[in-house]
């Protein structure tokens, strides 16, 4: 090939050949440039290698850790809470799946976009979301913070449809506490709610984290450690959007232990129905074991609202309600026991020998003492009465006399003997102790001596006597059992998730007293007469086929509402069957009027439910098992 062969060559100069060529190559413009190039290449290699050494070797472990943190999230799997059954195995509280909205701070790309987006979509308060995020600020930013519990299907659809614009927001399906009977048994079962920031700071709650549910009331609180179970967790791989790609490993949650109660749902429902719309409480238990068959307090609340995350307004409405729906009247409501207290006065008077079966007092409708006259409820008076008739007809004058003979300190001793004035020890939190006064107590509390006139009032359950319905059911049991009472017990047994019994609660004796022969016979005869004799104060509530024994009480109340006295508290304590007591009941209806007309029918219904079969009860049973 020759130079002249190609015409285009004329436009370019070929490199000189031979010696001249060699010279150009040595002394020309380019060779020193190539030396520069070589150094640039070497420098590049050095810089890149050093930087890689720094990143991959020196910082390698840290970078590897960060890449792991990027992709691995630990997600909590909430354990389903233990189921609560009644004694026949009917479900009183269980769990259902619910959708909860969480924010994972680490996955948020634009804080305002996610937070404002959620606030607008779901109508939430922006500040509330920020507060919740702040509360969890001590936790790693990959920790999901619960923003709203139990969102509706509608809200779920809104969030899911906008997931792309809400990085960091995610929805998890978690078990949620469910109370199928709503307000029924609210005070007994209690409720669960999200753990508060104050609780989180306490040592005993150190295994909890924000957003966890905790039993805050009733059995839920009492047996929290059993019901809670153990949350599981899974390690998942997530992508840059925070979406789960796959599960790496998983620790299964352990469901909470389930509880069988002594409660009989049929009896419970009958009482709930009868107290509907009233204020009051009722407890029914088996005197021979202390097993609580029913416990009702009214007005009540719906524990489901707490489990779904109660709003500030709802909480305010409940706590400022003048009827105190959160108060469990059975164990926290202290009332003067009224005439039901006469049972105790009679017991002690007979025991102390101040009176005997035949001791009689004349009732003319009033009892002059000091410069005033204590009236009997029956204006015309009862005439001559012995202790039996005094109980049946609830003669006040008889007990004024007896009370004076006994003196306040022996009445106080009687209270101690039966265990009144102390907590009965039911397995519910917050039980109040009652008060049966003594002269010493008054001196200590008020610094003034006891007046005899006060004894007259106390003898018939007025004045400074304050007892709760659960303490009075113990009085009823004391008589029914002839000197023995048991600790009231709601829970019968706790079963672990494997179905094995973890704990069984047998009867625990509270009081075991030997009294003189015949005392219980006399008082029981009187109490049976109350219901079963035409002159008895609760004759209207006698039960067919079964003998019920009881004592009415109408306690004066000085509570004023709008300048008007709301009326007396209606009491009734009872046990049935009289011959072999299987149930003891105490009923209180605040401002209900007469114990005989308002409270006694509740006890009658309980006895009927348990000991006779009527068509309407069958309906109630069918309703409960639904």
């Amino acid at each position: 090939m020759r130079k002249g062969d190609r015409s285009y060559k004329s436009r370019f100069y070929a490199k000189p050949r031979g010696a001249e060529y060699e010279k150009v190559m040595k002394d020309g413009t380019f060779p020193d440039k190539y030396r520069w190039c070589k150094w640039v290449l070497i420098l590049t290699m050095v810089i890149l290698s050093l930087r890689l050494w720094h990143l991959q070797i020196m910082q390698g472990n840290e970078m590897r850790r960060q890449s792991e943190m990027n992709r691995i999230r630990i997600k909590k799997i909430i354990a389903p809470r233990g189921v609560i059954y009644d004694r026949m195995g009917r479900v009183l509280a269980d769990t259902r799946p619910s959708f909860n909205l969480y924010i994972t701070p680490e996955d948020i790309k634009d804080f305002n976009q996610t937070v404002d987006g959620l606030a607008t979509l779901l109508g939430l308060d922006r500040e509330e979301i920020i507060d919740k995020l702040k509360a969890a600020s001590g936790f790693p930013s990959s920790f999901p913070v619960k923003i709203k519990s139990d969102i509706s299907m509608d809200e779920l659809a809104k969030v899911e449809a906008n997931r792309v614009y809400l990085p960091g927001a995610n929805i998890q399906i978690e078990p949620k506490r469910n109370y199928p009977y709503g307000t029924m048994m609210a005070h007994m079962l209690g409720y669960v709610s999200e753990i508060s920031n104050d609780e989180l700071k306490k040592k005993e709650y150190k295994t909890y984290s924000p957003g966890d549910y905790i039993g805050k009331y009733g059995l839920e609180k009492m047996y929290e450690s059993y019901l809670r179970g153990a949350d599981g967790e899974k390690r998942v791989e997530v992508d840059a959007m925070g979406r789960e790609v796959r599960t790496l490993d998983m620790v299964e949650p352990i469901a909470g232990s389930s509880m069988y109660l002594n409660v009989n749902l049929d009896v419970q429902m009958v009482i709930e129905k009868m107290l509907e719309g009233k204020r009051g409480g009722c407890i029914a238990l088996e005197p021979k074991s202390g097993a609580v068959v029913a416990l009702v307090s009214r007005p009540a609340f719906d524990p489901n609202t707490f489990a779904s995350g109660i709003s500030k307004e709802e909480w305010r409405a409940i706590t400022t309600d003048k009827t105190h729906p959160l108060q469990n009247r059975v164990i926290q409501g202290r009332y003067p026991p009224g005439s039901t207290f006469k049972v105790l006065t009679a017991l002690m008077a007979l025991q102390e020998g101040v009176i005997n079966e035949h001791t009689g007092f004349s009732c003319g409708g009033g009892f002059p003492f000091g410069n005033r006259v204590f009236k009997c409820w029956k204006k015309g008076g009862h005439g001559g009465v012995n202790v039996r008739r005094a109980i049946v007809e609830s003669c006040d004058v008889f007990f004024y006399n007896v009370g004076l003979r006994l003196g306040i300190d022996r009445i106080h001793k009687a209270g101690d003997m039966v265990g009144l004035g102390k907590r009965a020890g039911i397995d519910l939190p917050g039980e109040a102790s009652g008060l049966v006064p003594s002269s010493e107590w008054k001196k200590k509390t008020y610094g003034v001596p006891w007046y005899e006139g006060e004894t007259v009032s106390v003898a018939i359950g007025q004045g400074a006597v304050w007892l709760t319905p659960i303490q009075l059911v113990q009085l009823s049991s004391f008589v029914a059992n002839e000197g023995v009472t048991f600790k009231p017990q709601l829970v019968n047994k706790i079963l672990g998730p494997d179905g094995k019994t973890l704990k069984a609660f047998g009867p625990v004796i509270n009081v075991d007293v030997k009294l003189k022969k015949d005392i219980f016979r006399i008082v029981k005869e009187g109490m049976q007469g109350v219901v079963n004799e035409p002159s008895g104060t609760a004759y209207g509530s006698r039960v067919q086929n079964v003998h019920m024994s009881g004592k009415t009480g109408t306690a004066q109340s000085s509570t004023l509402e709008g300048g008007k006295n709301l009326g007396d508290h209606a009491w009734f304590i009872a046990f049935a069957p009289s011959e072999d007591p299987g149930i003891a009941v105490s009923v209180l209806i605040e401002h209900g009027g007469h114990g005989s007309s308002v409270s006694a029918p509740v006890a009658k219904a309980v006895a009927e439910t348990l000991f006779t079969v009527k068509p309407e009860i069958k309906e109630a049973k069918a309703g409960a098992s639904r």
Binding site: K38, Q56, M63
Partner: protein, 368 residues
Amino acid sequence: MQVDKRKLYHLDWYLIINGLILFAIGLMNLISATSSFYSGSYGFIIKQLVAFCAGVVLIGVIINFDYHTIAGHAHIFYFVVLAAVVLVLVWGMAAGGARRWISIFGISFQPSEFIKPVLVLLLACILHEKKREKALLGPRDVLVPFIWTLSPFVLILLQPDLGTGLIILLVALALLWFVGMKKSTYAILIAIGTFLPLVAWQYVLKPYQKQRIYTFLNIDADPLGVGYHTKQAMIAVGSGKFFGKGYLQGTQHKLQFIPEHHTDFIYTVFAEEWGFLGSIVFFILFLTFIRRCLKISQDAHDDLGSIIAFGLATIIFLQFTINVLMAIHLAPVVGIPLPFISYGGSSLISVLISVGLLLNINMRRYMF
């Protein structure tokens, strides 16, 4: 046209084999990088292979013509590519907020990729002419090459494609340096070089481009935006440690923590899976390839061949270096593909055109 057997014999097999190894690594890496995509790797690999075949055919065509002939038509290629770039600006398809693509007969092109070798050809011709007249270029000699460079530069910045614009500007400067300039020319260029960036900052750079530079200077100021991606890229590279996580085992790119991990950030995929060891081998392969290009420049038959080969070597070197520096946070984030490795037909074909021209120059080194 008959291919002279002696010329085939003079084909630079070192360059070819080195390039093939890089391409094979690129394909293998691309399988891993695209494995997390919903559609899978298959489509990407096929497209990349088709582009490779097209590129090989182009190499065949290129080596058939004497590079003097090709350089002689450089201005035609230049205007064709420039027209395509203008077309892109008018009708182009937008991707990621920029208009860089044009579709002809259903095949998408990125014309700005082709401006790189074409501009080298054109500037080489011009500079070679100047070189015949004087040993060192004066300030006025620099003017003409600059005008030829400036038009594509501005058009590409308008797309906007800061990366490619930067590359052609740097290549033009490198060529001037290579041919040789007077000291006064250096002085003027340095003066402009300090003044121009200020103007660019004020009037040319888009907010997102400025943001990238801010972020480069302070990565932690923006942990969720651009800084997030840089940070994730560094984590990907660093987490590879010495031996890497193993092929197909990288989590950073698979879980979408790194954007553009099959194109501009593809090096992070390689570094995460092959570690320090693999990266060093990879760098050596690249730098020997560039060394080989420079050797071709050194051995070229004439100055024209030397200048062209140097320009092409510079393009590949700059793309490689800036791309890797960006991934390891030694340079701000700009969209520059990694030659042979990044996914993208236009980029691959452009590189293969360069390879074709280099082979062309090399096989004609003994031509008298």
